[in-house]
């Protein structure tokens, strides 16, 4: 009798101690995350965006060993004390382990394979950053907020973000009415258009732009987010507004200047070709990134007037 009473008390004590852990549901299951994790490692840029938006600094970032890829809008909040854990594609598990994290935030397509191994280092949550669109990205903010024990702050920040974006939408929509716009990134070797299924595609759609890219799959779905595109294919798409993010100078697209097909593009004829910061538009995929994108778009629309 006495021993079972002890057992009961022990069980209750155990229940009290485990109650602190938050159960976070993510792409690959449910993870018990300790209360208010303080040493967080993030393996994609959009997760920095999430942490920065509630003023939390990660101890480790998969920054591709290029610290400048963490833009000043983030470093203003998170400082520059983080340790680089390597590339987003294959971050160093040793370095991650050496940071003794209490939470790891990983990407489904890049790191899903290593989920089990990452979980041996620290509680790991896996979100779909790389393949997700803008709306997915905002939803992931709340998951990160819950995981780091800052749900309230995150909800407030998301609400603020939504209000800000609505404001942008209200300003841009009247100007975008009936216009098609297309974003693409170009390096020295090619051009990749971001389809309506992509992060940027979904943003442009939200701002009221139509897309002239045609779905390539059955049932009107876009089979890929990032479509390699030749000049001939671009002249088929032929949107009213072209927005390029250049990773190289001169870029592949720069080489098209003077080509008959390029000069015949509607956007070129009407002088509606714009350049934006490729990294901010294409790689960050977060909430703050969306706000930067919206501000760029508003500026572009101002130049159309």
């Amino acid at each position: 009798m006495r021993s079972s009473l002890f057992g009961l008390i022990a069980a209750m004590a155990l229940a009290v101690t485990t109650v602190h852990a938050a159960e976070i549901e993510h792409e690959l299951g449910v993870t018990d995350v300790p209360d208010n994790p303080e040493r967080i490692v993030v393996l994609e840029f959009s997760f920095i965006d999430a942490l920065a938006s509630v003023g939390v600094a990660p101890v480790g970032i998969a920054d591709d060993e290029r610290r400048e890829r963490v833009i000043s809008a983030y470093t203003d909040v998170i400082g520059d004390e983080w340790v680089s854990v390597g590339t987003r594609r294959s971050p160093s598990l040793e370095v991650i382990a050496s940071l003794q994290p209490d939470l790891i935030i990983a990407d489904l397509s890049r790191h899903g394979e290593a989920y089990e191994t990452l979980s041996q280092i620290a509680p790991t949550i896996v979100l779909d950053s790389l393949a997700g669109d803008y709306h997915d990205s905002v939803e992931q903010m709340s998951v990160v907020g819950a995981a780091i024990g800052k749900s309230e702050e995150m909800d407030a920040r998301v609400a603020e973000h939504r209000a800000l974006m609505e404001d942008y939408v209200a300003q841009i929509r009247p100007l975008s009415e009936g216009k098609s716009a297309q974003f693409g990134v170009t390096n020295a070797n090619g051009l990749w258009l971001h389809s309506p299924a992509s992060y940027n595609g979904s943003l442009l759609e939200m701002f009221g732009f139509s897309s002239t890219m045609r779905p390539d799959g059955d049932g009107g779905v876009y089979e890929t987010n990032y479509v390699p595109t030749t000049l001939e294919q671009l002249s088929e798409v032929n949107p009213d507004i072209l927005i390029f993010g250049e990773y190289a100078d001169p870029s592949f697209v720069d080489g098209w200047a003077g080509e008959t097909l390029y000069d015949a593009l509607g956007a070129v004829q009407s002088d509606r070709v714009f350049n934006v910061t490729a990294h901010n538009w294409s790689r960050l995929r977060g909430m703050l990134a969306a706000e930067l994108t919206a501000a760029d778009l508003l500026e572009i629309m101002g130049q159309l007037e």
């Binding site: 394979e113 989920y115 790389l130």
Partner: protein
């Protein structure tokens, strides 16, 4: 002669041991030797449990095991095909496995991750089966087997290239790393999944070594010595295929090991299979362990795929051996 062979094996064994120790000692994070010893033997004092016990130890064991398997597979295939250019790749294993994995990645994006190795094995076996079935149409000849293998391999490669240029980067980002041959993220669970099979297959391959020497004499000679060439060749091909396909499924396409390890072995211990096979096995293990250790250590925290480095380390040595070998045939 026996003395010299014994010395060679002792040196190879010592090299394997030294590289294994090196592999435990180097990585993106510098762990002092004292801490490594504490962790390995459960002594008091500071430890690095994940880095040593959950990462470096299983990776070292896995790279040794898969390197040995790929090298043994290559040695067997070179003997069966009687061709020094042969390797697991030449009978279509790598290309078949890669195509199957990529097809699965784009056709069923939500496929549980644990399936990828099984699909790779199935792809490798399927490719070799097609090659073998076609080569069997007429009395089998090693040259035809190799040529059909190359043709089937190229067909699979065309499919691989098509998927690489058309598919979404996110669907194929994990398979891409796997295709370069990498031990990134590998741990005990991967070793546990393959070691029983690979160990049995290695034992089987070594046991068959003296039969290989008969096959290398040519089908007519081997038959006259009382061997059922067709059956035995099929059995050995099956062993070699499984060794390579299972290795590839877990560490990816480490293509070069199966080609060069047997050549390095041949230069050291000669062409007799009962010597060549164990030596190839040790050299394969050394090569892949070395490549994986270096890949972790040279550009930290960036991990360089072992597949890239096996070629980088192996190729110059391979060329050196070829240039310094008396040119009397292939043995």
């Amino acid at each position: 002669m026996t003395g010299r062979l014994g010395l060679t094996y002792a040196l190879l064994g010592a090299a394997a041991l030294a590289v294994a120790v090196l592999s435990l000692a180097v990585g993106a994070v510098r762990v002092p030797p004292g801490v490594i010893i504490n962790t390995l033997f459960g002594l008091d004092g500071p430890t690095q449990d994940f880095i040593i016990n959950a990462s470096r130890v299983p990776r070292t064991l896995l790279s040794a095991l898969t390197g040995a398997s790929l090298a043994l597979s290559g040695a067997i295939i070179q003997a069966i095909l009687r061709n020094p250019l042969a390797s697991p790749k030449i009978i279509g294993i790598n290309s078949g496995a890669a195509l199957a994995v990529l097809l699965a990645a784009i056709a069923v994006p939500d496929l549980p991750l644990g399936w990828q190795p099984l699909i790779a094995i199935a792809g490798g076996i399927a490719a070799v089966s097609i090659v073998y079935a076609m080569a069997e149409f007429r009395p089998i000849s090693p040259a035809r087997l190799a040529l059909i293998g190359i043709a089937v391999g190229f067909t699979c490669d065309a499919g691989v290239d098509f998927i690489l240029v058309t598919a979404d980067t996110y669907d194929i980002s994990a398979p891409m790393i796997w295709m370069t041959g990498s031990l990134w993220g590998r741990g005990w669970q991967h070793l546990e999944a393959v070691w029983p099979f690979l160990t049995v297959l290695i034992a089987l391959g070594l046991a068959l070594a003296f039969r290989l020497d008969l096959i290398r004499l040519g089908a007519a000679q081997a038959t006259s010595l009382g061997m059922n060439v067709r059956i035995e060749r099929l059995v050995m091909l099956a062993v070699a295929t499984l060794l390579a396909a299972i290795s590839v499924s877990v560490v990816g396409v480490l293509g070069f090991v199966g080609l060069i390890a047997p050549h390095i072995a041949r230069a050291l211990v000669g062409g007799a299979s009962r010597q060549l096979l164990p030596a190839s096995l040790l050299i394969g293990a050394v090569l892949v362990m070395l490549a994986d250790a270096a890949g972790r250590a040279i550009l930290p925290p960036i991990e360089v795929s072992a597949g890239v480095l096996t070629a980088l380390f192996g190729a110059p040595f391979f060329i050196y051996l070829l240039l310094n070998r008396p040119s009397h045939g292939d043995e």
